[in-house]
C-alpha cells in the first residue's frame, strides 16, 4: 500500500474547519476564539518542530541524542503534572515527585519493551524508542496528575478525619489509607476504561495513524495491544509510586500530618 502524501493545501482545508469553529464561537461569544486559534497554531508549530527533530534523529542513530530528547520530554511532562494540581507540594517536591515517578515507570517500561519485546537493534533505535516513550509519558502524565491531585486535595479537605484517626492510635498509612486507595484508583481508571472500550467504541489513535499510513491492520492491532498494555502498566506503577511517596511526605518522622508542605 502507498501512503497518500498530504499537501499543504490539504492541511489548509482542515485548518479552514478550525477557523470556522473559531468564527462560530466568536459569534456565540464563547470567549474561545483566540484560544482556539492560538492552540491550533501551537499544534502546527510544535508538531512541525518535532517532525524536524525526529527526521534529524532518525538520520543518525545516537544514544546521546535519544537520551537528550527523552530527558526534555520527561521534564516537560513533569512540568505539566505540576501545573495540573490545585494543591501541590512546595519547593522541589512539587516538581520532583511527579517527574521522578514518571521517570521510574515510563523509562523502565520503555527500555523493557524495546529490549525484551520489540527487540530493536540497537535497542534505542529512535524510530521505536521515541514514539514509545512519548506514548508512555503522555498517558502516565495524566495518571500521575490525577492521582496526586486527588491525594493532596482530599488530604486538605479531610484533615480532621486524618488527625482523628492518628489520635486514636492509627499509623499514617491507615489514617490516610482510604485517600491513597482512591487516588491510585482515580489515576488508573482512564486507562482501564480505554482498554475496555478499545476497538468497540473507539479506534485508538496510534493504530488509526498506522493504518492510515499503510500498515497492514493486524500489524497495527498487535502494536496497539502492546502499547495499551505498556501504558496501563506504566500509568498504574507511576500512580502508585507517586501516591505512596506523596502520602508519606504529608507526614513527618513523628507521623504528624504536615499540610503546610502543600503550597
Amino acid at each position: 500500500m502507498n501512503v497518500i502524501s498530504l499537501s499543504p493545501f490539504d492541511l489548509s482545508m482542515a485548518a479552514l474547519l478550525v477557523l470556522l469553529l473559531a468564527l462560530l464561537s466568536l459569534i456565540l461569544k464563547l470567549n474561545l476564539a483566540s484560544r482556539i486559534v492560538i492552540a491550533a497554531i501551537r499544534t502546527v508549530v510544535q508538531l512541525l518542530l518535532i517532525g524536524l527533530v525526529l527526521k534529524a534523529l532518525f538520520a543518525q542513530i545516537s544514544l546521546l541524542w535519544v537520551s537528550a530528547l527523552s530527558i526534555v520530554m520527561l521534564l516537560i511532562a513533569g512540568r505539566e503534572v505540576m501545573a495540573r494540581q490545585q494543591r501541590r507540594f512546595g519547593g522541589l517536591w512539587g516538581y520532583g515527585l511527579g517527574t521522578l515517578s514518571m521517570f521510574v515507570s515510563s523509562f523502565t517500561l520503555t527500555v523493557y519493551a524495546l529490549i525484551v519485546i520489540v527487540g530493536t537493534d540497537p535497542w534505542y533505535t529512535p524510530q521505536y524508542s521515541i514514539p514509545l516513550l512519548g506514548m508512555m509519558l503522555g498517558n502516565t502524565m495524566t495518571g500521575v496528575s490525577l492521582a496526586l491531585d486527588n491525594l493532596t486535595t482530599s488530604a486538605w479537605r479531610q484533615r480532621e478525619v486524618i488527625e482523628a484517626r492518628l489520635i486514636l492510635g492509627q499509623d499514617w498509612r491507615t489514617a490516610i489509607g482510604d485517600i491513597t486507595r482512591d487516588s491510585v484508583r482515580i489515576g488508573m481508571i482512564p486507562m482501564i476504561n480505554a482498554m475496555a472500550a478499545a476497538g468497540i467504541v473507539s479506534l485508538p489513535g496510534m493504530m488509526t495513524g498506522q493504518i492510515l499510513s499503510g500498515t497492514e491492520p493486524m500489524e497495527a492491532v498487535k502494536y496497539q495491544i502492546l502499547i495499551m498494555f505498556l501504558i496501563t502498566a506504566g500509568t498504574g506503577f507511576a500512580a502508585m509510586l507517586a501516591t505512596w511517596i506523596g502520602a508519606r511526605h504529608l507526614f513527618d518522622d513523628r507521623q504528624r500530618l504536615r499540610l503546610e508542605r502543600l503550597s
Partner: protein, 198 residues
C-alpha cells in the same frame, strides 16, 4: 500511677510550660484563641512544639508516635467519623461506657450521618475511653451536651481518673463545672499559663 510531665514545653508565642500532672483533674481555662486546644494537640504530638513531654519519665521523642498517641488519649472539641456506621469506628463490640452515657445497645448500627452533635460527642467519649489511654486530654468535652449527659460525663471521667490513676487535662469555659470537679486549675492569659490559686 501515671505522671505526665511537661518540661520547657512551648507552642506558638506561649511562655515555656513546666508542669507535672498526677492522677488528678487539671482544668485549663482562658479566652478563645489563647492556645488551649493547640497545647493539647502538641502534647498528643500532633503538631510541632518545643520542649519535652514525659509519661512516667519516658520522653515522647523516644516513644513510637503511634504508641504515644495510644497512651495520650486526646478528645478534640469536634468528633470525626469516617465510616458510615457508628460501630465500624469501634474495635471491640462490648463497650462499658455506652450504657453509662445513656447510649442504647443498638447504637453501633446507627448511621453516623443521622446522629446529633450530642450523640456523636458521647460516642466519641466512649470510643476514646475504650482504648484505655493512660492520660486524658479533653477539649471542652461537655460543650455540646444536655445537663443530664454533662453529669454522666463528669462522673465517668472522675471514675476513670481514680480507677486507672490517670492524669486528666480538661479544657472548659464552664465556671460551675470547674468548681464541681477541679483539683487544680490553670489559666492561659497573655501568653502565660499560670496556676489559679483558690
Amino acid at each position: 500511677m501515671t505522671t505526665l510531665r511537661l518540661q520547657d514545653f512551648q507552642i506558638l508565642s506561649l511562655k515555656p510550660l513546666n508542669i507535672e500532672v498526677k492522677d488528678e483533674i487539671l482544668f485549663l481555662s482562658g479566652p478563645s484563641g489563647a492556645g488551649k486546644s493547640l497545647l493539647l494537640r502538641a502534647i498528643t504530638d500532633l503538631i510541632v512544639h518545643k520542649g519535652d513531654a514525659y509519661l512516667d519519665e519516658k520522653n515522647c521523642n523516644d516513644i513510637h508516635p503511634v504508641q504515644w498517641r495510644k497512651w495520650v488519649g486526646f478528645l478534640p472539641a469536634e468528633s470525626s467519623w469516617w465510616m458510615d456506621k457508628v460501630g465500624d469506628h469501634f474495635s471491640k463490640k462490648d463497650n462499658p461506657y455506652l450504657a453509662l452515657l445513656n447510649l442504647p445497645d443498638d447504637c453501633f448500627s446507627w448511621d453516623v450521618s443521622r446522629c446529633s452533635t450530642g450523640e456523636k460527642q458521647r460516642l466519641a467519649i466512649a470510643r476514646l475511653l475504650a482504648l484505655q489511654p493512660k492520660v486524658l486530654l479533653l477539649d471542652e468535652p461537655t460543650a455540646s451536651l444536655d445537663p443530664v449527659s454533662v453529669m454522666a460525663v463528669e462522673s465517668i471521667i472522675k471514675n476513670y481518673s481514680s480507677e486507672f490513676n490517670a492524669p486528666v487535662i480538661w479544657v472548659s469555659h464552664d465556671k460551675l463545672q470547674i468548681k464541681r470537679l477541679k483539683q487544680r486549675e490553670f489559666e492561659i492569659n497573655n501568653n502565660e499559663i499560670e496556676e489559679v490559686v483558690a
